[in-house]
């Protein structure tokens, strides 16, 4: 592969997170019985007229703003004509001549190598119905028909399957962050057409392009590209010629196969959609939508490292989920110990959420309470095992950590007299171990500290206990 350069471009179709379909007011994302969220418009019945869902426009424009696209202040829709039972009106309403978003770029990082992947444009279109192919017939469910899609088309800027993967992951993360799509791959909310070509190293002209249609897992895309690029190189190496064609990935066999030309008529005969007026935006609307955008994941990561002095690993975990990042940040701003906040969020909080299959919104503990709990530990009012016990109460019931400490009697015993008493009892009950320590076995002390903790029912300050024991054993 070293003497060849690969160029990969993606056409990414993303279902937008709207409540209704793109051109009718019936529920989008219906996952129940087939054909229950349909109407004459999405069934493509003659005479039914589309009406634009403004929310879909807003979501697509916001995506463009996130990646630095130019937003078209006037945008129009076109009919893409094709004949297939997933689209019974025989055309898909899409945008060809004047899409909503032009240009833009997504930053990726593969193995510490940053790279900019340019985006050609993003356009708005409707999804097709879902077809299930059976032995002798095909069944069609129109619940998905007219679900709002945006199609994001990149330039052929990716040079490896890893870069394509990194691009998709970065895009998915942004879209989830901004609430534009859930990007649930299992539900087919992200689907890709993958274009690739290879050319000899040292040449500039792109090679002959092959398109792999309708990929719906990132892993599948990676595997398909790995296979396809090797196939193309092999054809060229053996003196063959590549033809521009559309191929299909056979996941089981692990190969790409040419599609029959009947399965993809490329002559779509686009023409302007007469039933939809143009979308005209003013700068104030676009700016208002820009103001709704969240801080992007990459920006947030850099800021967490800078502002909270956290290691990269912590930042990766904390920012993977926007709600978690918000929780961390709210707690960190009320705490003097940001690293401890990070440790508690990544450790106890994620563990507790994971055990019960909950989201951060379900946790009863507030960021303020977590910060207060950490302050109690740092002030040595409670020790770590007690803090974990308090955390569990706060997680399940909420409340104030100081009150929980009081109620459960968990405050550490730091009173010298009481600790001395526990130490004396521990030594008296374990003369043999005490003798070992006196004989130079330093680790024997840990056992005695454990005994003090046990006698105090976990409440003794372990550091003070160790000091008291040393004093009494040496004295």
């Amino acid at each position: 592969m070293n003497d060849f350069i690969a160029s990969i471009g993606l056409e990414v179709h993303v279902q937008l997170k709207t409540r209704t379909k793109l051109f009718c007011a019936f529920p989008a994302h219906e996952e129940g019985d087939p054909n229950v969220a349909v109407c004459p418009v999405c069934l493509g019945l003659p005479g039914a007229m589309p009406v634009m869902n403004g929310e879909a426009i807003r979501q697509t424009v916001k995506t463009g703003l996130m990646i630095g696209s130019r937003i078209a202040l006037r945008s129009t829709f076109d009919r893409k004509n094709y004949f297939y039972p997933d689209m019974p009106k025989n055309f898909q309403i899409s945008q060809q001549a004047a899409p909503l978003c032009l240009g833009g770029a997504v930053e990726i990082d593969v193995g510490g190598q940053p790279k900019t992947i340019r985006v050609n444009h993003i356009h708005q279109e409707e999804d097709a119905a879902k077809i299930t192919h059976l032995e002798n017939s095909s069944e069609i469910d129109f619940n998905r028909a007219s679900t709002p899609l945006m199609e994001l088309v990149t330039e052929p800027d990716m040079a490896s399957p890893d870069e394509a993967m990194a691009f998709l992951i970065a895009l998915k993360e942004m879209l989830i962050y901004a609430g534009i799509s859930d990007c649930n791959l299992e539900l087919g909310q992200v689907r890709c057409d993958v274009n690739s070509s290879v050319r000899p190293a040292g040449t500039d002209l792109l090679g002959v392009k092959c398109e792999i249609k309708n990929m719906n897992t990132f892993k599948g895309i990676h595997r398909a590209l790995t296979y396809e690029l090797a196939r193309q190189v092999e054809v060229l190496r053996s003196g063959g010629m590549l033809v521009q064609e559309t191929r299909r990935w056979d996941d089981e066999a692990g190969v790409t196969l040419p599609m029959r030309s009947k399965e993809y008529a490329h002559d779509y005969r686009y023409f302007p959609e007469p039933d939809l007026p143009p979308v005209v935006l003013d700068a104030a609307t676009v700016e208002a939508w820009r103001a709704e955008l969240p801080e992007l994941p990459a920006v947030k990561r850099a800021r967490f490292i800078r502002d909270y002095g956290l290691p990269e690993y912590d930042v990766g975990v904390l920012t993977a989920d926007q709600a978690l990042a918000e929780f961390f940040e709210a707690a960190a701003q009320q705490s003097k110990n940001c690293k401890a906040v990070s440790n508690w969020v990544m450790g106890e909080l994620l563990r507790a959420l994971g055990e019960q299959g909950l989201g951060i919104a379900d946790a009863k503990i507030t960021p303020r309470a977590l910060a207060a709990l950490i302050a109690l530990v740092d002030a040595k009012t409670i020790n770590m095992p007690a803090a974990k016990e308090v955390f569990q109460v706060l997680f399940e019931k909420g409340g104030d950590p100081a009150a929980v400490v009081k109620e459960k009697g968990l405050a550490q015993v730091s009173d010298a007299g009481a600790i001395d008493g526990f130490a004396e009892r521990a030594i008296a009950a374990n003369e043999k171990v005490a003798a070992e320590f006196r004989g130079g076995k330093e680790t024997a002390l840990m056992f005695l500290v454990g005994q003090v903790m046990k006698l105090s029912r976990g409440k003794a300050n372990p550091q003070l206990a160790a000091e008291a024991l040393r004093r009494k054993l040496r004295g």
Binding site: T18, N35, I57, H133, S138
Partner: protein, 101 residues
Amino acid sequence: MAMRFSENADRMDVRYVAGLARIALSDAEAARLQGQLDDILAFVGELKKLDVSGVEVTDVATEAQNAWRADVPIAGLEREATLANAPLARHGQFVVPKVIE
């Protein structure tokens, strides 16, 4: 497939268009329809004689803009009504002849 057509082509191959539309034509039908199609294109072609150099290109016929709908769902059709016009239905779905091999 045979000749493609574009917006600028003078002629449209009826067999090519029929192929896109999955319509089978006999030779006699193809010949008859080709003649009709040629006549239609010639008729529309009259427009080419007009001088439109001073006319702004337009893509819509009305002054309307946006005309958006709020993102608020309403209940769909009853499935029985949805499938009532289907030549064949099964498992709550429309059934069509198999479309891939």
